[in-house]
């Protein structure tokens, strides 16, 4: 295991942890089924890219067509990425969150994600269409040579700082009165609003917070892989992150972290180790070309389904918050979306 692969896994883990924490805030704590989540990560990545890249007329970049190109130094692109995620949440939230019941919200957000991907792919001058943005500068690449091990350690450290920051913010939210209001709204929206909580304002706020954090995760990822194309943020990516949050245990930050380590990092990377040759009874059996890669995906699907079947409450279920003197009730059932009209 060399430094770069370790760095790759750690940075991806960090990015996915941050994304899952954001998703947990939106979904686990507040009950918003944000099926367009990946768009906000993409917005952050694109924003960070166009803020840090030179203009497309610059030497070496002429093969691409994109807006922006301000060549801002780190950390401005990352801040810009986080802001972009937050800003995008506003119109999306205003339209979808206010008026729709949750299952309609879910499918509408899913379609939003598809629309965004199609538009960016086809509107080439905006963000270079299907080819995406390449040669994205890495943070502090002029100060530290990106070809060295030190740069990998630096990037891991940077990611870790962001993870800690996001964890801190997420914990504060979950354990605050705001967090309690969010959970009340998630569990019994009608009762919560009877108590004077404004579900729309609550939802918008957490949606934007989630968007900001998602944008940050995008900025971190694009700084590492130096390329961002529509193929990276297709709608199934959102579902994978949801799987992570569910598998890890919704509603609590630790669950989100565990889920991030298990699903996008664990399942997807462990399956790469499926051997391409077997030794059976002394014979080397080589499966047909392409079979093992295809089976890797089948394995990922089976792992997800397996976890959902055998441990639907997640690896670390949400702890019940019990207060002194309160009657102890069994775990609340999964939120069922029931048609009432």
């Amino acid at each position: 295991m060399n430094t770069y692969y370790a760095a790759n896994l750690l940075v991806y883990a960090g990015v996915d942890i941050i994304a899952c924490l954001a998703l947990n805030l939106q979904f686990g704590v507040s009950g918003i089924v944000n099926f367009s989540f990946i768009v906000f990560q993409a917005a952050g990545a694109y924003a960070a890219a166009v803020l840090s890249m030179p203009p497309h007329t610059a030497s070496g970049y002429e093969f691409q067509l994109y807006v922006g190109g301000f060549q801002l130094p780190f950390p401005l692109p990352w801040i810009g990425g986080a802001l972009a995620g937050g800003l995008l949440s506003i119109p999306v939230g205003l339209v979808v969150l206010r008026k729709l019941r949750s299952d309609y919200q879910a499918i509408a957000l899913l379609v939003t994600s598809i629309i965004a991907n199609t538009v960016i792919t086809n509107a080439r001058p905006f963000l270079n269409g299907a080819a995406g943005l390449a040669l994205v500068p890495q943070p502090l690449q002029d100060q530290i040579d990106p070809g060295t091990d030190w740069y990998q350690y630096f990037y891991i450290g940077l990611t870790a700082v962001c993870v800690v920051l996001v964890w801190f913010v997420a914990s504060r939210i979950v354990n605050s009165p705001f967090g309690r209001s969010l959970r009340a709204m998630r569990d019994h929206e009608l009762a919560a609003s009877a108590l004077g909580k404004n579900p729309v304002a609550l939802k918008m706020t957490i949606f934007i917070v989630g968007g900001v954090i998602a944008g940050l995760s995008g900025a971190i990822l694009v700084g590492f892989i130096m390329l961002w194309a529509p193929s990276v943020w297709l709608f199934p990516e959102t579902i994978i992150l949801f799987a992570a949050v569910i598998v890890g245990g919704r509603g609590n930050n630790m669950g989100a972290v565990l889920g991030a380590l298990l699903v996008p990092v664990g399942f997807e990377e462990v399956t790469r180790l499926l051997p391409s040759e077997f030794n059976m009874l002394g014979f080397a059996i080589t499966p047909p070309v392409g079979l093992i890669p295809a089976l890797q995906w089948v394995a990922i699907g089976l792992l997800i389904i397996g976890f959902l079947w055998f441990r639907p409450e997640g690896v670390r279920p949400e702890p019940r918050h019990v207060f002194d003197g309160a009657p102890v009730v069994p775990d609340a059932p999964e939120v069922e979306l029931v048609r009432t009209a």
């Binding site: 089924v33 019941r101 086809n122 009608l190 009209a341």
Partner: protein, 294 residues
């Protein structure tokens, strides 16, 4: 040849293809509350079944029926073996979506080693060209439009006039109440999966026939168009899906005729965005889609 007249004709074909897929998808959502992300893969599997039949020398129209039958059985089994057990366990809507995505990954990647990544085409002469006032359509395309019209009328008939159809509508509106009224919801759900599965299979063969050459990777695109049309019309509303299909199919082709064709999807989805902003529940959604005020 007026490009617009031709585009109108193509729009008729597009909307027929999309309608078949979208209605099936939306009925699955409306009655069983499943956002079935494996829908596109079932479509493409059925298209391949028809391909193998066609390759054995049999006409594609027979293949179409075979594809529909395969889609029906496949979807029925999918529900019985995977979806229903999870739903019985109390899995939420979200959990079911994740399950359906996992299933779609598995179907696509189990199919890949079997049929391989190559594109294939059906062997069917496209029939004569019909030219009417600027519209140009092949005989096959006219048959496709015909099939779609017949099927839509059939769905309308099913929902309006048959007991099963009324039971479906009741189950969609309120499953608990429906059960209390003596409707055998479990059997209704089975019937829904068979019927929408048949639609799915049929839509897959038709879409494959329409595109002259297809491969496994086409499945994702089929799902996306069905999803978009379904949401445009109001998720869960079969008539809404038909309208959504008409709009997307027609707008796509007409805008390809008016502006640069590479933006045709952008325009179609732009319409969708507009509708979602103005009427987020979709064009025909019932009032219940809206949350309680405040």
């Amino acid at each position: 040849m007026s490009l617009f007249a031709a585009a109108f004709g193509f729009g008729l074909v597009s909307m027929s293809v999309i309608a078949l897929a979208a209605v099936g998808f939306t009925m699955q959502f409306g009655i069983t509350n499943m956002i079935n992300l494996a829908y596109g893969e079932v479509m493409i599997s059925s298209a391949y079944v028809a391909y193998y039949i066609n390759r054995a020398g049999i006409s594609i129209w027979i293949g179409m029926i075979a594809g529909a039958a395969f889609g029906a059985v496949f979807s029925f089994l999918l529900n019985r073996i995977v979806y229903a057990p999870f739903q019985r366990k109390g899995t939420s809507l979200l959990g079911m979506v994740i399950v359906s995505l996992a299933v779609s990954l598995m179907i696509a990647n189990l199919l890949l080693p079997i049929v391989s990544y190559n594109s294939v085409s059906y062997h069917q002469s496209s029939g004569g060209l019909l030219r009417v006032g600027g519209i140009i359509l092949t005989a096959n395309q006219i048959v496709i439009i015909g099939v779609a019209v017949v099927v839509m009328l059939g769905i309308h008939g099913l929902l309006t006039y048959t007991r099963l159809g009324k039971a479906m509508r009741a189950t969609a509106a309120n499953p608990t109440l429906a059960r209390n009224c003596g409707i055998p919801t479990k059997r209704v759900v089975d019937a829904v999966w068979l019927i929408t599965g048949a639609l799915c299979g049929l839509a897959g063969v038709v879409a494959a026939l329409n595109s002259d050459s297809f491969a496994i990777a086409s499945g994702a695109g089929f799902l996306i168009t069905a999803l978009a049309a379904a949401v445009l019309g109001g998720a869960g509303q079969p008539y809404g899906a038909m309208i959504g299909a008409v709009i997307i199919g027609m707008v796509t082709e007409l805008s390809a005729a008016s502006f640069s064709p590479e933006y045709k999807d952008v325009v179609a989805f732009g319409i969708l965005v507009l509708v979602m902003v103005l009427r987020p529940q979709g064009l025909l959604a019932k009032r219940g889609a809206l949350a309680a005020a405040g």
